[in-house]
């Protein structure tokens, strides 16, 4: 086992002491008799940022969140919140508040007492408490439910109360554990906007856990993609989407075409679909990835035959999705390519299954990813 001193001596970015900044260093949590739920995770979260932990269920994102909140104790590693070591700080003393997936509203208290619970536990005077609770209820537009019990609220209202109960304490960090997963699509979209608005307005650090890639893309400043206890990639949304580091990230976040490649030159490689040109310099075998929306589709007669990476094939599936249509195109060699074409007016036309087409994979749109 690594001793505590050597763990502290590890290198890494300087620890930010800014209010709401979080440094996670080599955090590991192993549940009795099983593999590590969280495995040596290093992560820096900036003060005031909306950070999303994205990953499939069971990847350890909730465990990581619970360690930040203090509900779980890490087996190894350190967590610093606002520059302060959290090792010996119990959950009830951390300037961190959580919005739970089930909301966990207290059944014996009405809405305003639920919201005021944290302030009451910290010993705030009833008069001051009422002021704070009233203003947060106004902000979240739940004032009219003040004296109702949690059982009488709809899902969306409960979600707002849970959020208010966390925000009213003005914590350094707000943790949100899949808070929208129980809501229907429309309400979800509304509350996504609302959450963002609150976060920007109050300037607190939000750490949001979700398995929904769309939600992660919409809301986050930066995201961290987790898989099997490890943080696969961390970065601004655009970077992670456009330049996924590995196959897992590419596949989990958005749709993708991925092929193994063997270089045949500095900018060309052999893939199962044939010889392809790639702008990025190649060095050894690897994987190549292209997003379906970055693939151009042409009528086979109108294809620009002089361009590189032009392949001919037949449409096998066309799935109409409103704003766009998703195609599966079978190439001459039998390989399939996934392509998405927007249904705007400028689009030449749409294709039907059985039609012969050509697809163009522009060399600069092909990314190299590690397996």
């Amino acid at each position: 086992m690594m001793s505590a001193t050597s763990a502290q001596a590890d290198s890494g970015p300087a620890i930010s002491a800014k209010r709401g900044a979080i440094s996670i260093r080599g955090i590991t949590r192993i549940f009795a008799g099983s593999v590590a739920a969280v495995d040596h995770v290093d992560l820096e979260i900036n003060a005031g940022e909306f950070f999303t932990l994205l990953g499939p269920s069971g990847c350890g994102k909730t465990t990581l969140l619970r360690m930040i909140a203090g509900f779980e104790t890490p087996d190894k590693g350190r967590i610093l919140i606002s520059g302060k070591e959290m090792q010996d700080v119990p959950a009830h003393k951390r300037a961190v508040n959580t919005v739970f997936q089930s909301y966990a509203l207290f059944p014996h208290l009405n809405v305003q007492d639920n919201i005021g619970f944290g302030l009451r536990m910290r010993g705030m005077k009833p008069a001051d408490r009422k002021k704070r609770v009233d203003s947060i209820m106004e902000l979240l537009q739940i004032g009219q439910f003040a004296t109702r019990s949690a059982a009488q609220l709809s899902g969306g209202q409960r979600q707002r109360v849970a959020l208010a109960r966390a925000l009213v304490n003005e914590p350094d960090v707000v943790l949100l554990d899949e808070p929208l997963s129980a809501l229907d699509a429309k309400l979800r979209a509304e509350l996504q906007i609302e959450l963002l608005r609150m976060q920007k307005r109050l300037g607190m650090t939000f750490i949001f856990v979700t398995h929904d890639q769309h939600e992660a893309l919409v809301m986050s400043d930066r995201i961290g993609v987790m898989s099997r206890g490890k943080l696969e990639q961390v970065g601004p949304v655009l970077d992670v989407y456009e330049k996924p580091r590995n196959v897992f990230v590419a596949e989990f976040l958005g749709l993708s075409n991925i092929w193994p490649i063997t270089p045949t030159g500095e900018h060309s490689a052999r893939a199962p679909i044939g010889e392809i040109s790639i702008t990025a310099p190649l060095s050894g075998d690897g994987m190549a990835m292209i997003r379906p929306e970055k693939i151009w589709i042409y009528n086979d007669s109108a294809a620009p035959k002089d361009r590189p990476n032009l392949f001919f094939g037949t449409v096998r599936e066309a799935i109409y999705m409103g704003a766009s249509t998703q195609y599966r195109i079978e190439l001459a060699g039998g390989q399939s390519v996934l392509a998405i074409d927007t249904n705007n007016q400028a689009a030449e036309r749409s294709w039907r299954p059985g039609e012969p087409v050509a697809v163009e994979l522009k060399p600069e749109n092909i990314m190299l990813v590690s397996p």
Partner: protein
């Protein structure tokens, strides 16, 4: 990992264990000290000899068990075996009567509007909240020689004139069924409440109606409740003390009274303790049989802590 350094997890689970003992400890220790220890002492006494006052003394002896089997200085006597069999029979009949009455009562309650069901259930349970002695002597009055019920019995020549239905075996069985009926109804109601009526509807096509329909659709679904009910009635009825004492008389003596006598009127503690072991063996057999049956039938286990 060095032995001296504990992981956070070990420290945390140690804390958890401490909290467990601080909260649950007092209650568990109380039960161990004031029930498990005393009953261990009681069972231990069965292996001692009795002195002239019936108190246990050394040397260790199997004589109490010989007494239980009916052997004494005067030779063998089937009295104890008869009492055990009679206890089983009387408890068995009481259980059967409760079960037969419970089905119509449970479905009667379920056929009423949901808002008054709790009240109907309350009125089933309420008599059992009154004191054991009071509700048992009430039956002494109801079945006594002076009561109208006994006159009817005279006319039917069920009992000799001048005697009532109480004391007697009929009175004991009735008293037991009366005492423990709620213990049958409550678990049966719990399982009947969850009954899947679509199965009954589906069964209507297969089994026409009436008893066959009940037997093939309703009965299997309520069996877990019925089995719990049988345990809750049969075990305490078998070991009951108050009912046979007040309603029984000599001819309806049950094992409970026999045991109690060894600690009150004619003390012989080792003998009484040996009889207690017999009673607990039957109780244990009943419980084990119940578990095996429930498991075999795949029925839901009762909610356990």
């Amino acid at each position: 990992m060095s032995a001296a350094v504990k992981t956070e997890q070990e420290i945390e689970s140690g804390r958890q264990r401490l909290r467990l003992w601080v909260t649950s400890g007092p209650g568990l220790v109380w039960i161990m000290l004031f029930l498990l220890l005393p009953s261990a002492v009681l069972l231990g006494i069965a292996f001692f000899s009795a002195d002239d006052y019936g108190s246990p003394v050394l040397p260790l002896s199997v004589q109490p068990f010989q007494q239980v089997a009916g052997y004494s200085l005067l030779g063998w006597d089937p009295g104890n075996i008869i009492i055990v069999l009679r206890s089983l029979e009387q408890a068995g009949i009481a259980t059967l009567v409760s079960a037969l009455l419970s089905y119509p009562l449970v479905f009667f309650i379920l056929s009423r509007p949901a808002s008054i069901r709790p009240l109907l259930l309350l009125f089933i349970v309420l008599p059992s909240w009154t004191n054991q002695v009071v509700r048992t002597y009430a039956w002494m009055e109801l079945l006594g020689p002076a009561a109208p019920v006994s006159w009817v019995a005279h006319i039917l020549h069920a009992v000799p004139p001048d005697l009532g239905l109480a004391p007697g075996r009929f009175a004991v069985t009735t008293g037991l069924a009366y005492n423990y009926l709620p213990y049958m109804i409550v678990p049966l109601y719990a399982s009947a409440e969850k009954l899947d009526w679509t199965l009954v509807e589906a069964g209507r096509d297969l089994y026409a109606a009436g008893l066959r329909l009940f037997w093939h659709t309703v009965f299997p679904q309520t069996l877990p409740g019925l089995l719990s009910g049988i345990i809750f009635v049969a075990i305490p009825a078998f070991g009951d003390y108050v009912v046979p004492q007040l309603l029984g008389g000599d001819k309806a003596l049950m094992i409970g009274s026999l045991i109690a006598n060894q600690f009150t009127e004619t003390p012989d503690w080792p003998y009484g303790a040996a009889l207690t072991i017999i009673m607990l063996v039957f109780t244990g057999l009943g419980l084990v049989g119940f578990r095996v049956l429930t498991r075999k039938l795949g029925g839901a286990e009762e909610a356990t802590i």
